[in-house]
């Protein structure tokens, strides 16, 4: 957080105002062990943006850091040129499906309505407007007729779409999705992708953590390759080169791994 307020620098200023999302020198550690090092990343236009990398590369961590869910040890993240707490309602988040207990006693409508809670504040209850919004969101992901169903009785793909509908009900301008296609059937994948493309067409930014390289090239306009540090970022066709992929997927850089372990144990590297 110490860098908050420091401007990105001369080459970062754009004519169209501040970037939608700006990671500035972000380093995140679990405990003392850094898992993502010094990431600089700017996304300045509405698009479908993929964050791609192998397992354990720190992709999800990067999203969580941007949302303030894990503390950063250095750097800052700004949305629309402002700190997150000022623009929270404009940033929507879809966590990984496995992070919640799907036997929880709520139905589909209850979950989608949660998307409106941030704006409702502490004490106001969801009213007619919120319910309509939730129904519209469910309709968009193709689950309109399942509003009353207990969430444990949905398929994996339907659960993921419920999560997406909850984010839609928030009516955010930037969406951050953590592995929305993982463990999801083909029909749900297509439906999810169609909604994401619609969001982009409406001028919203959609950032997706994704691990499947085959689909990445066809789905995303721009990508960032990440493996404990940012390898490359930019238009998909430019970034997904054999050399960049080699650098991303060749295995973690052992220097970062060993250094991380040494920092965590307050020791030294060999």
């Amino acid at each position: 957080m110490s860098h908050a307020g420091v401007d990105r620098g001369q080459e970062g200023s754009r004519a169209g105002g501040p970037p939608l999302v700006e990671f500035h020198d972000v380093t995140v550690a679990y405990g003392r062990r850094p898992v993502i090092w010094n990431v600089d990343l700017e996304i300045d236009a509405a698009c479908l943006f993929g964050i791609i990398g192998p397992n354990g590369a720190g992709k999800s961590t990067l999203l969580k850091a941007a949302l303030g869910l894990v503390p950063m040890v250095g750097g800052s993240v700004r949305f629309f040129g402002r700190p997150l707490r000022e623009v929270r309602s404009r940033v929507g988040y879809v966590p990984q499906r496995e992070t919640v207990d799907w036997d929880f006693p709520v139905n589909v409508m209850d979950v989608v309505l949660m998307g409106t809670y941030g704006r409702l504040g502490w004490f106001r209850r969801p009213g007619i407007r919120e319910r309509q919004l939730a129904r519209d969101s469910l309709d968009r992901v193709g689950l309109a007729d399942l509003a009353g169903r207990q969430i444990g009785r949905l398929s994996g793909g339907q659960q993921q779409r419920v999560f997406l509908a909850r984010a839609l009900a928030q009516q955010a301008d930037v969406y951050l999705l953590d592995e929305p296609m993982a463990g999801v059937d083909m029909r749900s994948q297509e439906q999810i992708f169609r909604v994401l493309a619609e969001l982009k067409a409406e001028g919203r930014l959609v950032v997706v953590v994704h691990h499947d390289l085959r689909t990445a090239a066809e789905w995303f306009d721009r990508v960032a390759l990440v493996d404990m540090r940012l390898v490359a970022a930019g238009p998909t066709a430019v970034v997904l080169t054999p050399e960049n992929l080699q650098r991303t997927y060749a295995g973690h850089i052992d220097v970062l791994e060993e250094l991380g372990r040494a920092v965590a144990t307050r020791g030294r590297t060999p």
């Binding site: 006693p105 209850d110 949660m114 941030g118 928030q170």
Partner: protein, 432 residues
């Protein structure tokens, strides 16, 4: 009869009414808080708080607070928050897992409480035995005047606690549910998750203190966890679950009290026993996943399989009559099923033998069609040898629906025969 042999308890119904009402109202408070603890998988923390509030109460009483008074509530809430803070501190500092940390903290604090209470000068309103097991029988005799009536102090405190907890729950329910279901998304949406959780813990402390006089520290846990755990089996929405838990808690308290009166035994213990029985009943009778519902589901499936197998068996015999006869002997269940199919009209008499009626034939063809389609699908997608195809199809045939059959038909390229070369019957127009 029910009240016949009450010796120790004596006979004044008003006294028993007050004691029972007090037990019911604290059970309701605990069930409400317990609902959130159970769905957040924090029951153990409820246990810890239930015990660890003791030193807070003891110190408050020794400083002049009355049992059930405001000072005691403040002491208890402070002790509860200290408990959670200590558990999290141990986790952060020593890497101690939360359950182990809770075990260390609450036993230590509880022991400190017991030591303080035991060392207390005679004449203070506190007694070690009462703290462990509670003492409902004496509650009606410690009264305060409420608009001219003598009302037991514990009942007044319990009712106030319940009203406060219900009000807090109604106002913050939305945030409690969001936090309990998906705390990461709640935090990202700006919900003050830490405050919401602290509020739940404070509520747990309040419910615990209100229950202390009634059931004692040991059985507070039963009131917190058991009704909520039973309600979780019966309800699919959180507010319904809370309501069911409250009802189960109140019923358990009343029935337990009456049973204790009848059998002349410890009321708190009896209440906990009744709550346990309620849980067992819920586990057996739960509509979706209860023991009973699952047994019925198994029996119904077995019966359907037997009927369908018999229909398909006769269909195959008729098919084979053009070639060679099949020698499958029906099981006892299948013979019963065949008897039923005759009554039901799926089989019709044809001279000395039984044949499929038009309706029976449609049903039989659906089963055989499902069977052979599945063999065709497996043969195409799994590349299995021929002898591996029949066994899975034998049970899959009972679970394939019309839409899936159509999909398989398309995927296997509208084949007319299964991999064994037998004809796949066409989809029958089942509506006609």
């Amino acid at each position: 009869m029910l009240f016949g042999n009450a010796t120790f308890f004596g006979g004044d119904p008003a006294i028993h009414g007050w004691a029972m009402a007090t037990a019911a109202v604290v059970a309701a408070s605990c069930a409400l808080v317990g609902t959130l603890l159970v769905v957040r998988r924090m029951s153990l923390l409820g246990d810890a708080i239930g015990h660890a509030v003791l030193p807070g109460i003891a110190i408050a009483v020794l400083s002049g607070g009355r049992p059930g008074g405001l000072l005691v509530f403040v002491g208890a809430v402070a002790a509860a928050l200290l408990t959670v803070w200590l558990i999290q501190g141990l986790q952060a500092a020593g890497g101690l897992a939360e359950d182990a940390g809770a075990g260390v903290v609450f036993t230590t604090l509880f022991a400190i409480g017991v030591v303080i209470v035991s060392a207390a000068p005679a004449g203070t309103h506190i007694d070690p035995a009462c703290i462990l097991a509670g003492d409902l029988t004496f509650i009606p005799f410690d009264t305060v005047a409420v608009v001219g009536f003598a009302v037991p102090r514990a009942f007044v405190a319990g009712t106030l606690a319940f009203i406060v907890l219900v009000a807090a729950a109604v106002v913050t329910w939305k945030l409690q549910v969001f936090t309990a279901f998906d705390s990461a998304a709640a935090r990202a949406a700006g919900v003050p998750v830490a405050t919401v959780t602290a509020g739940l813990l404070a509520a747990t402390a309040v419910a615990t203190v209100a229950s202390f006089d009634v059931v004692g520290a040991v059985l507070v846990v039963a009131l917190l966890v058991v009704p909520a755990a039973a309600a979780e089996l019966l309800a699919h929405r959180l507010h319904v679950m809370a309501l069911v838990a409250i009802i189960l808690g109140v019923v358990g308290a009343c029935v337990g009290y009456l049973a204790a009166w009848h059998f002349n035994t410890n009321a708190a213990g009896m209440i906990a026993v009744v709550l346990g029985l309620e849980y067992i009943a819920a586990a057996i009778l739960a509509p979706d996943d209860g023991v009973f519902a699952r047994a019925i589901g198994r029996v119904r499936l077995a019966w359907r399989v037997a009927c369908e197998d018999r229909l398909a068996g006769v269909w195959r015999e008729e098919e084979a009559a053009r070639g060679r006869p099949t020698g499958a002997t029906p099981t006892l269940l299948e013979r019963c099923a065949a008897e039923w199919l005759r009554i039901d009209g799926s089989f019709v008499r044809d001279g000395v033998t039984w044949r499929l009626s038009p309706r029976g034939r449609r049903e039989a063809e659906t089963v055989v069609r499902s069977h052979r389609l599945w063999e065709a699908w497996l043969g195409r997608h799994a590349d299995l040898p021929l002898d591996h195809l029949h066994p899975p199809a034998e049970w899959v045939e009972h679970h394939l629906g019309a839409a899936m059959r159509r999909r398989i038909e398309v995927e296997t390229g509208w084949r007319q025969s299964d991999p064994h070369g037998r004809e796949i019957p066409p989809e029958s127009s089942s509506q006609s």
